[in-house]
Symmetry: C2
Subunit: 237 residues, 2 copies
Amino acid sequence: MADQTSHTVKSYDDDIHQLRSLISQMGGLCEAQIIDAIDALTRRDAEAALKVVATDARIDALEGEAEKLAIQIIALRAPMATDLREIVACLKISSVLERIGDYAKNIAKRASALAQAAPIEPMVIVPEMARVVAVMVKDVLDAFVDRDPELALAVCQRDQTVDNFYSSLFRSLLTFMMENPHHITPSTHLLFIAKNLERIGDHATNVAEMVHYSATGHLISERPRGDDTAFATSAAA
Amino acid sequence: MADQTSHTVKSYDDDIHQLRSLISQMGGLCEAQIIDAIDALTRRDAEAALKVVATDARIDALEGEAEKLAIQIIALRAPMATDLREIVACLKISSVLERIGDYAKNIAKRASALAQAAPIEPMVIVPEMARVVAVMVKDVLDAFVDRDPELALAVCQRDQTVDNFYSSLFRSLLTFMMENPHHITPSTHLLFIAKNLERIGDHATNVAEMVHYSATGHLISERPRGDDTAFATSAAA
């Protein structure tokens, strides 16, 4: 193991700082991708949507960098258990962010398809839902950077709002599809978009739980994750 | 760093063997969960479906164990870069398997809802699709255990079949919904079930790429991941 000279200690701190800053960058990009995807959806701008699809590769590349750096830090610095747990937490968070990026990309793909369909009414609720979700992603990254358990807890609590948005959208889209068969294809895209946002909310909550745990050593008491519409037996259920 | 005595070397091998065997266990459980969820769907057995939902906690617990063990191995054995990369790959695979478990759980939730609805015709294609996906999960874990790049490659190639299943199901479900508004709620569940299966196929493919890379040092040339229905502008598209 390397001697714990101040030079080595400083370098380790530099390394971990660089790793955390890569993850912040990923988080910032994810937040922007969600906002841009929904913006393209609202403005019915297929070109802007396809730009979001293309930008996802940058998030994937950052994840690759973060993983490489994490392995390098572990190999060169042989960190103690506490530091190791932090590095592993960083790896997990970067993989969650990569997945959030994928959801934003999928939203953008659907936005490009919806730009060609007639606008549908339940869509007005989607930007609202997206705004809450994008703020969750922003806040959980701020909580990660500042090691702020209170903010992490607030992110977890906001997940219920997202689930409520999703349930309400799910039911109104189903009703909307029943009214007119022409609504079915665009409504299906919107349903998947809402589902993607709901999943992003879940992932932000998972990260918030990790941040809270690593800052306090305490688990946030679990609330059932996911929406309850998976059990729905009718649009009115 | 610990001396490379034969005792230490053996212990490291034991540790990594234990980690890989935890991941095999997770893989076996995931495969069983997919099969059981679809079986509950086909037999319209809500009770069996809820058993699948409950069993998911075992996969989550195994992931926790795998992570703990991985951190312990790194902290105690201070492995060299190649071994470290293997441990990090194990961590990534276990997190993918945890997610596959979540998808199976979500299928089971929807199966329990569908057990109360009238059976719908496009459902016959779902067990076929699920069979392909479950075999992909089984094969990718076998490829992982045997470090078999050929089998990993075969898994990747089968993902196209899954995507074709999904596209075909997507279009027939949309047509089916258009025919009769009463089909909409159950068709929506089936659409999400098919989407979950398609995502499991993607995840199995991701793992197969990791297995192939770690066995050969070569990347499998990328094919576009995900289904093309995200771009669909009508059921006939």
